[in-house]
């Protein structure tokens, strides 16, 4: 494993020399480490690049990590990872992607993740994306997440793109069965001339299913972000989406939430707030002894935490 990969792993997956539980490390499109556990089996796909991860029913308290790193330019990595989560399992999945380039050639990772959650299973999915290096080549990460949640299963997604990624198109789609819950918490920071687009489509098909989608973003410098969420309530269900964005300098944010209530007992809500940092917030922190710059950084750190 390359030193750059180790650095990226520390950033995206809190790797400290080893992983706890099952893992697969992908480096420039190849596997550089894999361990399965008794309850979590990781296998290579036969027909396309990527993995099949089988989590046995009733597995409790285990973690599986599948980070992907691109360490130089002129790499276009495409991977399909499918997770089959058995009934009643309760696990943590740590994904994440780091891209590094020191040249003018582009580097891209496109991770397509599919989650099939069995009845009553619970998954916490952590995904952090980062770009590093001084190369002028575009660093792109285009994740696709597709999830099918069976009865009473819970998927909690905590995703963050914390800087250095020049282009990103994030697509998340989910279909929920009866009693299933989907919690999404997304944070995106763009700077310089970066662009980020995020799209959600959640179908609430089962009785008492619910989604809570919270997106917070900061667009600085000349960066541009787009947010588009679609929540479709096909049954008695609850749906809430919240898109908050801070813009500074010449940053731009477009937000387009869509709610579709196709059942009279579908209760859907959307909240959105876009604007620059409130002057009162800066003033308050200055009265605590911070400079204006320190106050801004503190507000943004907190907002994206």
């Amino acid at each position: 494993m390359k030193e750059i990969t180790k650095d990226l792993l520390r950033e995206i997956s809190e790797w400290n020399g080893e992983f706890k539980g099952a893992y697969n490390i992908r480096e420039d499109g190849a596997c550089v480490g894999r361990v399965s556990s008794k309850n979590i089996r990781i296998e290579s796909k036969k027909d396309q690049p990527g993995l099949e991860i089988f989590i046995a029913a009733n597995t409790k308290g285990e973690t599986v990590s599948i980070p992907a790193c691109v360490t130089h330019g002129d790499v276009d990595d495409l991977v399909y990872n499918d997770f089959y989560v058995g009934e009643n399992a309760d696990v943590v999945i740590v994904a994440g992607c780091g891209i590094h380039t020191e040249t003018g050639e582009p580097a891209r990772h496109n991770g397509i993740h599919r989650f099939i959650l069995g009845k009553n299973s619970k998954v916490k999915y952590l995904e952090k994306h980062i770009g590093t290096g001084h190369g002028t080549g575009l660093k792109s990460i285009d994740p696709v997440t597709e999830a099918e949640l069976d009865e009473n299963s819970v998927l909690e997604m905590d995703t963050a793109q914390i800087g250095g990624v020049d282009r990103t198109l994030r697509k998340t789609a989910a279909k929920l069965g009866a009693g299933a819950k989907l919690l999404i918490r997304e944070r995106i920071l763009t700077e310089k001339d970066q662009t980020a687009k995020t799209e959600f489509c959640v179908e609430l098909n089962g009785k008492d299913s619910g989604v809570d989608l919270i997106s917070r973003s900061v667009a600085r410098d000349n960066s541009h972000q787009g947010y588009h969420s679609v929540i479709i309530g096909n049954a008695p269900c609850t749906g809430h989406s919240e898109c908050d964005a801070i813009i500074s300098e010449n940053g731009k944010v477009d937000a387009a939430p869509e709610l579709h209530a196709h059942d009279t007992d579908a209760a859907l809500i959307h909240e959105a707030a876009i604007g620059k940092i409130a002057g009162e917030q800066i003033l308050k922190l200055r009265t605590l002894g911070m400079t204006e710059q320190e106050a801004e950084a503190t507000i943004i750190d907190g907002f994206l935490s």
Binding site: L283, L285, R286, T287, L288, G302, S305
Partner: protein, 241 residues
């Protein structure tokens, strides 16, 4: 000591708010600034904190001319300001905000001690975000907690009673009474409330951009009760102005 000399301030459209105002606040005292709405109290408080810059006049703090010193530097010198309408921060927890106020990491027992002074149970609040889910009474108490965490030489409270319900107000008075006993520094409170006036060492009436009258709290309370023309209009037991 805080000393303001000949302070004047006008709104951007030129309407005079403070007119040649003079005020001295001795160390260790609690002083309530009261008076009718529009008299200049909040403007005065913001000028002390450096949030507004006076058009004319001088400000001295601990013997140093701070007329040109900005908000950040005044805060570092030991001046704290509790906002009338506290600011909310998405993503920043109560614990984090108190640590930002204190300028250091705070152990759980320290946080608990600060929050208990404003009548909040730390267990319920430390991990909550300082966002719109907090009620008016809760955010007010947290605002006060942030200035308590600073343990400043001078703390200015701008209408702490504003925007809170009667139940929270009763508790807030108790909080101020307790705070008065435990705080070492100087306190300036902008208030209309008689019960807050009663916890002051000194009272100054700000009206029409000037200090109309000031003195020891007992004497001033008597004067206010006897001579309501001092402030032009007066009111009821709970809200004097």
């Amino acid at each position: 000591m805080l000393k303001l000399e000949n302070i004047s301030w006008s709104t951007p459209d030129g309407t005079p708010v403070l007119k040649d105002l003079n005020l001295e606040v001795p160390d260790g005292k609690s002083v309530v600034l009261t008076g009718p709405n529009g008299g200049g109290k909040t403007t005065l408080a913001k000028i002390i904190a450096g949030i507004y810059k006076q058009d004319n006049g001088k400000i001295y703090f601990d013997g140093r001319d701070i007329t040109e010193v900005d908000i950040t530097e005044r805060a570092k010198m030991g001046i704290s300001f509790a906002f009338q309408q506290p600011v909310r921060f998405k993503g920043i927890t109560v614990q984090k905000l108190l640590e930002l106020a204190a300028g250091k990491k705070l152990e759980r027992d320290v946080t608990c001690d600060i929050l208990s002074k404003v009548g909040l149970c730390a267990g319920e609040y430390v991990n909550r975000e300082v966002n719109a889910t907090l009620s008016g009474g809760e955010i007010k108490r947290i605002e006060i907690a942030t200035v308590l965490a600073r343990n400043s030489k001078l703390t200015v409270f701008d209408e702490p009673e504003a925007g809170i319900d009667l139940w929270s107000f009763t508790n807030l008075i108790h909080t101020f009474e307790e705070m008065r006993k435990s705080m070492d520094g100087t306190i300036i409170i902008i208030s209309h409330q008689e019960r807050i006036l009663k916890i002051a060492d000194e009272i100054a009436i700000v009206a029409d951009g000037r200090i109309k009258m000031s003195g020891a709290a007992d004497d001033m309370m008597k004067s206010l009760a006897e001579n309501k023309s001092i402030i032009g209009r007066c009111s009821k037991q709970e809200a004097l102005f």
